[in-house]
Amino acid sequence: MNISQVIKPNLVLYDLVANTKKEVINKLADLYQKTGVIQEKEAYIISVMKREEEGTTGIGDGIAIPHGQSETVKESAVVIAKLKEPVEWHSLDDLPVKYVFLLAIPDEGDQEHLKILSQLAGLLMDDDVRIQLEKSKSKVDLINIFKKGVDQL
């Protein structure tokens, strides 16, 4: 299993319209519920917001990696969303966020799958990946970044 296998095209959004961090998380949680990744949206959102309160998940250069761990999560997953307009996230570099990687983590998850999500998080620190994100012009571009990224691991 590799990163391209955890990135599901139906969980990648390009130009999502949302005005606040909360709205972004709410819309992405909707997608998780529709696709059966989570059962109860509210419980999942609470876990994500609790994590946000512990410290920002905005890691700089317009990227955020919020995550919620909850028993309502049925399988670990990642939603990737490029926002139409950046939103405030209280990031480490104080810049608003344009690229959101929302992780869903079950209480007791498949270890292999979790490892791949960790690799994905690590890739977000890579300058080349950040440049590619900035250059992406479509959903396919977003998906392809991480297809290429796999070879670098």
Binding site: R51, Q111, L114, S118, G122, M125
Partner: protein, 105 residues
Amino acid sequence: MKRKLIAVTACATGVAHTYMAEKALIKAAKELGVLIKVETQGATGIGNRLTSKDVSIGEAVIFATDTKVRDAERFDGKKILQIGVSEPIKNGKGVIEKALKVADE
């Protein structure tokens, strides 16, 4: 001779920040010409475990952790820089420089 540091990264969920801090430390150390080995203590276990040899070679230990360090007694007597897991993600070079200062104290 190159300077040598060791580090442990860990966050509450153990999936994202642990591994971003790891990458940030490696990247910053490389840019500053410093050798580093980073142990990740995450949800899927311990990665790149620091051996007793690593511990003896490291001039200082960086704990970039938001949770308790597992098997912390391995580092008894070492010079330790304790910071939050987000710190290297925010300013990797600054953390490496601070750790070198701790080593020199």
